[in-house]
Symmetry: none
Subunit: 353 residues, 2 copies
């Protein structure tokens, strides 16, 4: 099992082999997830709980704000299972949770819960109503001040319907990226999704500036993490653990740099995702990353569930659920620390019984 390069060179990821990592999980709710049929990242009617449950499970192995592990209607279990499996086999040295506007706070003691006094954002078709500049500044400050004794940082996210807000955001920023964004579905619910995005785009005014646009159409995670990356400013290696949503974070960074100017060193920045995202026929992570004006190293973990016969896990290989809760970056971290496909598969299976 290997780590494959999407863009850039393999040297950065090889350099991180054997090194210790802090795992930061950024969580946010957008009411966009309440639109019926737009996401399968959670339990119908309780989708808003998914990031809360994901973080509880990654930290403690338990979902405390609900009885069962978040499952999609088709029974695809959350990718948090992968993130937790890696943590059991080769623990991250530190886990921190970033509350970027949760409906329900995770019930976890001891782990650092960074609170930023950010509210869940609105449905984007009705205008997200985010104080985008404020959220961005909070991300920037957090990045500037962030310190860890670990060798690098893995930044993950859990935001239900986040691929929809990401696609809308990139389109609103003028990127020619229709059909390049992923979804939690195999067969993307294009009618609902497209309608939502189109309605959201109609809210954008030609006089709107960057942060006006973001405030109307984005989500807190996207905006905050763009700030975090710029604030961190290459002082530690940073792995963006995610798929097209993390690519959208980079597209926002790119747009900010385009408008504000200035040099930005990305030599220690990478995006790491899953094979399911990389091979997804309905999206194109590579094309998204190639829209950036700066160089970016990106990789995917050559991991799938071909060693498993568990029906819920086979759904991953069939294209239902592909990424989230840092699964791709965590798989890369696991591979960089000697874990095998068999070990990871067994560990994930052990959660399902």
């Amino acid at each position: 099992m290997l780590i494959n390069t999407i863009t850039g060179k393999k040297d950065l990821i090889e350099y991180l082999r054997g090194k210790s990592a802090s795992f930061l999980l950024s969580l946010s709710n957008t009411k966009t997830a309440n639109i019926e049929g737009i996401t399968q990242a959670g339990i119908p009617g309780l989708i808003y709980l998914t990031p809360t449950l994901d973080s509880e499970f990654v930290c403690t192995g338990e979902v405390r704000s609900l009885e069962n592990i978040a499952e999609t209607p088709k029974g695809v279990p959350t990718p948090a299972l992968i993130t937790r499996a890696i943590h059991l086999l080769k623990p991250y040295s530190n886990i921190e949770v970033l509350n970027l506007g949760l409906e329900i706070k995770p019930k976890v003691d001891y782990f650092k819960l960074n609170d930023f006094d950010i509210n869940p954002s609105n449905q984007i078709d009705l205008g997200a109503q985010i104080d985008a500049m404020g959220v961005f500044q909070k991300g920037l400050e957090f990045g500037k001040n962030y310190e860890t004794k670990d060798d690098y940082i893995i930044l993950a996210e859990s935001v239900p319907s986040g691929t929809t807000t990401a696609a809308a955001t990139a389109l609103a920023l003028g990127y020619d990226c229709k059909d390049l964004f992923s979804s939690s579905f195999k067969t993307v619910p294009n009618s609902i999704r497209t309608q939502t995005i189109n309605k959201a785009l109609e809210n954008i005014d030609s006089k709107d500036e960057l942060f006006d646009i973001l405030g109307k159409i984005s989500d807190n995670m996207l905006i905050f993490n763009a700030g975090f990356i710029l604030g961190l400013n290459n002082k530690k290696p940073l792995i963006l653990a995610g798929g097209t949503q993390m690519a959208c974070v980079l597209l926002i960074v790119n747009k900010i740099l385009e408008i504000m100017g200035g040099e930005f060193d990305t030599s220690r920045l990478a995006l790491c995702t899953t094979k399911w995202v990389y091979e997804d026929k309905n999206s194109d992570i590579k094309a998204l990353l190639e829209m950036l004006d700066f160089e970016i190293n990106s990789y995917y973990a050559d991991f799938d569930f071909s060693l498993s016969s568990h029906p819920a896990l086979k759904l991953y290989d069939e294209g239902e659920a592909k990424e989230g809760v840092g699964a791709g970056g965590c798989l890369v971290y696991g591979l960089l620390n000697g874990l095998s496909k068999q070990q990871i598969t067994n560990q994930v299976e052990s959660f399902l019984g």
Copy 2:
């Protein structure tokens, strides 16, 4: 599979069990390797590339300065395969490369490439022309200033024809060590090797002092690492990962201490090598180490390729190629961290296809 003691006690190596290590790879070219038939550590005509390719492969899994992995004429693959296999299974926390006079610098980003402004040395039969005191001082300074947050250091080397320069050096320093030095061959090419060593010894003048002798007959790696050991001065545990060449480094340290006097604490210094070196009928690592006036802990990894049927790997068990690129020390590190003979064998085999 065990770690066996050659000299000293097992306590030091047991103390290092489970601890983290920095891997330092010291690389050097001596034009002695250009003498036809003197070494099989590389591709004929391109032997000088071996240390460069070894370091590229250990760091990245790729040989970048040439298309194929360095193989000897008989098809014995470089011991860098073992070093890399361990790194994949149980990564060293940090890899640094020491350029002690390379013809071609390795093409690797991010990894620390320590450069010392040292030139490749000449054929020893024509006089090596090394500024031995200068190289020694550089090693001493590097050791004095070297810092790592890891628990110990593994110091390895890749120097084609390095066993010849090591044998010549030890003889020139007055050690009674004819026939104690190893070679990359099973059947040592004694005529060429002996002729080269004898011609080199003829260049030594009875008035030559220690560093004059080293400058004529040694190689940069031997001299630099003698300085490094003395400069490090026991502040961190240090594993010399190598066979008779690393033993020669210790013989040089021994001679320096004999001449310059002073106490030297070797309680946290060990040499770790392979079973192939330990059992070699044409050399005697134990006898070399017993010539030292200080106590030294030394060990070998009880690893061979008996679990493999790959013809290239069986050559190791037949005595062709025995050590290099830190293979023995890395095997010990792997064993100290729970790796099995089967895991290591499988991983090495995976490189050969």
